[in-house]
Amino acid sequence: MTEDKKTIGLTLENRSIMERIMDKGFFRDQKDAAMFAMAYAIRQGLHPGNAEGTNTIWNVGSLDPDGEIRMLIGNLFPDTTTPYRAVESFVNAGLSSIGSRIDKEPGIEITDLLGEAASPA
């Protein structure tokens, strides 16, 4: 049985996307942006995967102090046995997806993505 992750990291490419997102000044910190990216990916109908080549950014305790995220992933994806590994994959997939959108439309704002995320997946 695969062991779950104790830290959440970003790939090099997604770190750069994270910086670009933070430069837009919408989020108070990277943690909020990461949670946004995770929700964006889940809302797009993606499934838990495995993010390769990540560098640690957060300890799971700091990202999910009360275990709410772990529980949510458990409920949304009952087959998942490693919820934080799933969280890491969603955060990275979400950032990658947002990065592609920004590349296509450099003027796009986070709240425009919010509208897309809110529409039915």
């Binding site: 889940i42 949304l76 709240t111």
Partner: protein, 658 residues
């Protein structure tokens, strides 16, 4: 007569690179069309710069040379500018070049000190020395009278000041008018004769001192003449001071007027800045709210998915509960049948079972079967209930709509802020260098000049009174000398009397010449005015001692108050009349002369222009003077047309209209 042949500007104001306007040899009108902010006033200033090395604002303040170079050229590292004016005067061809270039070693000039200004004048192709060139230019176009050749239509209302005898601006304009009309020729002659008369008086005193009989009187005469000369020198010094103070006062008055307008702009600037600060605070507050909402935005994004999942799980729970109920009923029914078959009696009514009934119950028992595998309904139901409860904990209010509203509001505030910042930038350009302390300084200097003028005028009056007294004493001594003096003094006395007579003659001549000039100016201005005005009830213009012109109604009464348009027409009449009566003739170069005139007056002015000067150069915008109207009215008198073409806000060029 001065005639301009061409004006070439290079990197001057909005004119990037070299731009040239050529004026034909023939008498007539040349029109340069250009919309606002394209460079019409700059062209007028280019001519002024070439002739006098000055560039003026509409408030008559000088513009720093550093600010004149073309901005786009400066951006590409090219600084400095030059103007070349080609003109003819009495058959001689002149070319005047004035240029401003960056001092060696200065990579990026920051002020006037970083430039070198040079001018060159050639006459019939030969270069003139600097002093010779200055003298020649002063003779051809003295700066003091340039206002009658180079004028800004927007400033024509200044001529109304001539109607106010106490106005310093009016006095300055009057002096300029007298200069262009040649009055100084007579007044300078009168001054020279006064000098000669005083010299003759000294010689008479000296002759009297040499004679024993008149020695005492001669000594007294010489002493009085000496004292008078000292007093006259003091008087002249005071007059010079007074002149200087009045110029300062007028300049500060003009600056204050300009500053008043700018002060209003400054107020507007402060209001816009406050508006921007308020918008920034609103943007900042909403950005903060957005950040707060984005902290939990992920919940809102997932809310529909969680709701759908919970509904799905709730459905599963309902199904499971139904299955559990059905299983319970099945178990209980099987048990009741088994009991009845075992006892042979019905488990409800206790009646004995018939064979047929037993057979049916056995068949039913087979139908119900053994009940299959036992399932852990309770455990499964508990699991589903736990999931539903957990999914319930994730539910949040939908903040996406609020976030989007906030983002729209932020965008709106930003657009308003950008628009406000643009307006503020414009205002800042207009109010550059203005501050309250500058305004206070101007008012302070104005007040100081007013006080000093009062003191100097008082001193001058005392000096003039003393001079009158001493002159009386001198006349008394001279009368005594006539009585006591013998034939030895006769020659000197005659010299004094002749010089005195000549001086008085010139004095009278000045008065007569002025009166005649005023009458001629009045007559010619009236003639022009009647051609220009559209009001049939006006009979003409009446002139005052300051050359101020008042409109006269045909009933003989003066029109006390006149509109800006009427003021304009009167000023143009005065201009035309001065051109006609001045010994110094030249072109009329006008910037925006029709801005205040209606179409009827514009047509009349256009029609009359060729009579006002042999060469007329107009800088106008098309709605001020329609090209079709100009062509119809001027016909062959319109020699050429140019157009200022916009390439960018800081790049205009001049093109000859086809």
């Amino acid at each position: 007569m001065l005639k301009i042949r061409s004006i070439t500007v290079s990197d001057f104001g909005p004119f990037k690179g070299e731009q040239k306007i050529e004026l034909p040899k023939e008498d007539g009108v040349v029109i340069v069309y250009g919309e606002n902010m394209r460079g019409k006033t700059t062209l007028l200033n280019a001519i002024r710069y070439a002739l006098f090395g000055k560039v003026l604002t509409r408030g008559s303040g000088e513009i720093q040379l550093h600010q004149i170079g073309n901005w786009e050229s400066a951006t590409s590292g090219k600084f400095g500018f030059h103007v070349v004016l080609a003109f003819e005067q009495n058959g001689d061809a002149y070319q005047l070049t004035r240029e401003c270039r960056v001092r060696p070693g200065i990579a990026r000039p920051m002020s006037d000190a970083d430039y070198i200004e040079e001018s060159f004048l050639t006459k019939n192709g030969s270069a003139m020395g600097p002093d010779e060139a200055t003298l020649e230019l002063g003779r051809i176009m003295p700066e003091t009278v340039s206002r009658f050749f180079l004028f800004d239509g927007e400033l024509l209302q200044q001529y109304e000041e001539l109607l106010r005898s106490e106005s310093d601006m009016g006095r300055q304009i009057k002096d300029a008018i007298e200069r262009i009309l040649g009055v100084p020729v007579l007044t300078n002659g009168r001054a020279d004769l006064s000098q000669l008369h005083q010299l003759a008086q000294y010689q008479e005193a000296k002759a009297a001192q040499r004679n024993q009989k008149t020695q005492q009187l001669g000594n007294l005469h010489a002493e009085l003449l000496g004292r008078r000369e000292a007093m006259q020198q003091e008087s002249a010094r005071l007059r010079q001071d007074l002149e200087r103070l009045k110029v300062t006062k007028t300049a500060r008055e003009e600056q204050a007027k300009k500053q008043e307008q700018l002060r209003a702009l400054l107020g507007q600037r402060e209001r816009l800045q406050e508006e921007i600060n308020l918008l920034e605070a609103k943007i900042s507050e909403r950005e903060e709210r957005r950040k707060n909402l984005l902290t939990t935005a992920w919940r809102s994004i997932l809310a529909p998915k969680i709701t759908a999942l919970r509904e799905q799980v709730e459905g599963e729970l309902r199904g499971l509960r139904e299955q559990a109920t059905r299983r319970l009923v099945q178990v209980e029914t099987t048990e009741a049948i088994r009991r009845a078959l075992s006892s042979g009696n019905c488990s409800l009514c206790e009646q004995p079972l018939t064979d047929r009934t037993k057979q049916r119950l056995e068949e039913r028992l087979v139908e119900l079967g053994s009940g299959g595998q036992e399932r852990d309904f309770d455990g499964q139901i508990h699991n589903l209930e736990t999931r539903i409860s957990q999914l319930g904990q994730h539910q949040t209010d939908n903040s996406i709509a609020v976030l989007q509203e906030i983002s729209i509001a932020i965008d709106d505030f930003r657009v308003t802020k950008t628009t406000t910042e643009d307006r503020l930038r414009d205002l800042k350009e207009q109010t550059e260098g203005l501050d309250e302390s500058e305004l206070r300084r101007i008012y302070g200097e104005y007040e100081k000049a007013v006080q000093e003028i009062a003191i100097v005028e008082k001193g001058l009056k005392a000096q003039d009174d003393a001079l009158a007294t001493i002159n009386t004493d001198i006349i008394r001594i001279e009368t005594e000398l006539v009585k006591k003096g013998g034939s030895g003094l006769q020659r000197e006395r005659k010299r004094r009397e002749i010089s005195e007579g000549l001086r008085n003659l010139f004095d009278e001549g000045v008065k007569v010449y002025r009166d005649r000039l005023r009458a001629k100016v009045e007559k010619d201005a009236t003639e022009l005015f009647l051609q220009l005005t559209s009001e049939p009830d006006y009979a003409g213009l009446s002139i005052n001692n300051n050359y101020g012109l008042t409109i006269v109604h045909k009933d003989g009464n003066s029109i006390p108050v006149r509109s800006a348009g009427a003021e304009h027409v009167v000023a143009l009449s005065l201009m035309g009349s001065l051109q006609k009566n001045a010994p110094l003739r030249g072109p009329i170069i006008m910037d925006s002369p029709f801005g205040r005139l209606d179409s009827v007056h514009t047509r009349k002015v256009i029609h009359t222009l060729p009579n006002m000067a042999s060469q007329v150069l107009l800088f106008v915008y098309e709605s001020e003077l329609e090209p079709k109207l100009a062509r119809n009215e001027l016909k062959g008198g319109l020699r050429s047309e140019y157009r200022i073409v916009r390439h960018s806000a800081r790049f205009s060029s001049v093109e000859k209209a086809v």
